[in-house]
Amino acid sequence: MASSIDPKLVEELAAIVGVEGIVSRASELKVYECDGWTVEKSAPDILLLPRSVEQVSRVLRALDRKGIAFVPRGAGTGLSGGALPLNAPVMICTSRMNKILTIDYANRRVEVESGAVNLHVTNAVKAKGFFYAPDPSSQMACTIGGNIAENSGGPHTLKYGVTTNHVLGVELVLPDGEVVELGGAVEERCGYDLVGAVVGSEGTYGVVTRATLRLMREPEGHRTFLATFPDVESATRAVSRIIASGIVPGAIEMMDKLILRAVDDAFHVGFDQAAGAVLIIELDGMEVGFAECSSRVIEMARAAGAKDVKLARDEAERQLLWKARKRAFGAVGRLAPNYCTQDGVVPRTRLPDILRVISQVSERYQLSIGNVFHAGDGNLHPIILYDEREAGQVERALGAGRDILKACVEMGGSLTGEHGIGAEKIGEMPLMFSPDDLAAMMELRHVFDPKERANPGKIIPRPGACVEVAAPRRQVPI
């Protein structure tokens, strides 16, 4: 694709980031035409890979002068089209700003550049018995900047909270190039909680370049159970009972039949092939407390209908369970040429109802849908399998996703628990928010980005344009 950007500006940008920091050949840009939401594609005109906050600032100043929009990108593992360029010719990727800057064990803080990979943070501190709590399943690849933009969660957010609970301060480059320090390293804030506003803003406030995060102490021990159920109803019953009992597990994750078969084919975990659903239930805390809690968990799972509750015997077995869970998306990828996943949330007690709806949707659209999700939080991840080469399947997959989200909202839930609205769900925002709510959000956005140059076309639908926006703009070739 010929760049639509003035060659003089390209030269100026190249001078800022260096020749190795700029990509403008169409063939190389193809990699950046989508994130993990692969239904829509659109490559940027140029990609910049700055190395420092100064470079980011100078780049944004140059773009601001010419009125050119940009899209920030971390690792591109987002699942809602957050890093999809929509009328944003320039993509700014943080992958070369990936240093862990300081580790402060005494105060349980770590300061990182925004391109640092999530798992690298935990790896850097685990020898001393610490970890960074938010653990998205994509943590081997996704960046802290991406996590901040999406307010990402993970299996262990049930107990430890999501990204916003662990970010104390950020350095943000505003769309006009100004660098601002928000929050800091201490707990209390002075003035408005702008850090809280930036977390979850999906790259629409500018580029986050640095962050101060909390570290947590590794619990003394874990007990990880695999509970096998005849059907998803009994598994959800167990979730409700455990949560209501007053026990706060580290994680409760569910996989249904379709998923557990795919996962077992890939990782040979030894799941019962006849099972309708399994739960991975993890307790963490002090060794002395486990005996009592474990027996209660086992009892509750059995009472809810579990055929079998097994304890991971050692760390290797525990890790195998988590590998199976965290790589479930990949495993399912083997079942069909394409899949997309939704991220709706329902109040925990409505899990049986929404799972029923999902199976009806699957029948209605004649598409297989698997479920692997953060059951303890009521956060679903229905994985809709389709084949983009078959006429009409993309539309059916999108329709199925929309129906599921609509049902989530009708049950008092949300469109997204952790993947973000992005480009994907922008058309569904009016299901949850009134025009006034959306107007207030737009006012907030304008505080940071008055000209809407940072990641345009995301999160907030333009008034009157909701229906059109919901339709896919640019389908993959069928």
Partner: protein, 408 residues
């Protein structure tokens, strides 16, 4: 003010008078919306009134119209199995928790005097107590919010599920905004089970350094519910008059309690004492209710946790330090002239800055209050964004104006 009927607009009574000239008591968000539209048109300043513990401190002059939320004090829904609750902003934290306790649940945010602290104030003034160490603050538990903003728009953010990233996080924007961006009418929280058992370890020390070292050892070794060091002036309330008292709370099943009790005594070299059940609760309540909302002069430090001992070293004043959080409230008992108060505050701020932190005044007595800066100013860049936010959410400048950071 015809709309609410004359009987609902009254002159401010006693304490209210420091915050507002007149007070209205609307019954719902629509009435508040009507009031806001009217005040915007007439340029009348207003402020939401909770227990007015912060408001009467930070306001230099009363606003024309106080909005009391005492008629908006219902629990709209509590779903025990979902561990969520929706409450109107006028209910007190104490009343809310009394209801939740029927299901053995609680909102684990523990401001001083929960029975007078309203949920709206809890959120708006970011109150928190000892449990912040293990449970976080209202910021971490607030999952949805309704507020009435400019133009009388009723805005809602978040929702009633525990995990939700749809749209911008308006809960964070409103939390800690001290009523300067709109009137909060409803709050949705995730709640937690009340722990089966709770105990307190109390370890007195002659020297502050030893107390903080002891606290650090406990912090390293145990998953505590809370961890405080209180200075001698307060320690008498815990039976440790004249000493620095380490007060650590822990919860769990009997095995966990037993283990932590034993371990904490070991770590305290046998000097400590363990309190269970009712006595533990009494110590906890005394700790929570240490009151820093009245003069002569009190403040909250926020510094790096490991630097608390240095920050508080030989400080003029009595303190309660939340050792795991790097937060400490400090109070001076003796009346101050404006000069001396300014000097003390400057010295406190200097201590906070030395250790990468900041200081916010919580209270000062009447004659000196007007001469003191309550809020620490953020960086220039942040302040510029804050000004824009205030302008965007309150274009008429009527919401509790001129008392927040940077005069916002």
């Amino acid at each position: 003010m015809a709309l609410l009927g004359v009987d609902r607009v009254r002159e401010a009574a006693s304490l209210e008078r420091r915050a507002a000239a007149f007070v209205v008591e609307p019954r719902n968000a629509d009435e508040i919306a009507e009031l806001i539209r009217m005040c915007e048109a007439e340029g009348i300043a207003l402020a939401a009134l909770g227990a007015m513990r912060s408001l009467t401190q930070i306001r230099r002059a009363p606003v024309a119209l106080g909005i009391s939320l005492r008629r908006m004090n219902r629990i709209i829904a509590h779903e025990p199995d979902d561990l969520t609750v929706i409450a109107e902003a006028g209910i007190s934290v104490g009343a809310l928790n009394a209801e939740l306790a029927k299901s053995r649940q609680r909102l684990p945010v523990d401001p001083c005097q929960p029975d007078v602290t309203t949920v709206g104030a809890l959120v708006a003034a970011a109150h928190a107590g000892p449990l912040r160490f293990s449970e976080g603050t209202a910021r971490d538990l607030l999952i949805g919010i309704d507020f009435v903003g400019h133009g009388g728009r009723v805005i809602h953010g978040g929702g009633r599920v525990v995990k939700n990233v749809a749209g911008y996080d308006l809960m964070k924007v409103m939390g800690g905004s001290f009523g300067t961006l709109g009137i909060i009418t409803t709050a949705i929280f995730k709640v937690r089970p009340i722990p089966a058992h709770y105990a307190v370890a109390l370890v007195p020390h002659k020297r502050a350094d030893d107390a903080f070292e002891c606290a650090a050892r406990l912090l390293e070794a145990l998953p505590l519910s809370h961890l405080e060091v209180v200075s001698p002036g307060f320690a008498a309330r815990f039976g440790a008059a004249g000493q620095f008292a380490v007060i650590a709370g822990f919860s769990g099943n009997p095995e966990e309690i037993g283990y932590q009790a034993k371990k904490s005594l070991e770590l305290a070299s046998g000097r400590g004492e363990i309190f269970n059940e009712r006595q533990a609760e009494a110590h906890y309540a005394a700790l929570r209710d240490l009151d820093f909302a009245a003069g002569p002069l009190s403040a909250r430090f926020a510094v790096m946790p490991a630097e608390l001992p240095a920050t508080l070293d030989a400080i003029a004043g009595d303190y309660c330090a939340h050792a795991g959080n790097g937060v400490a409230e400090v109070a001076l008992r003796a009346a101050q002239s404006l000069d001396s108060a300014q000097q003390v505050v400057a010295e406190w701020r200097e201590r906070a800055h030395r250790t990468r932190g900041h200081l916010r005044l919580l209270a000062a007595s009447e004659p000196i209050r007007g001469g003191l800066e309550f809020f620490h100013a953020p960086s220039d860049g942040a302040l510029k964004l804050m000004r824009r936010l205030k302008q965007a959410f309150d274009p008429a400048g009527i919401f509790n104006a001129n008392c927040f950071v940077g005069g916002l």
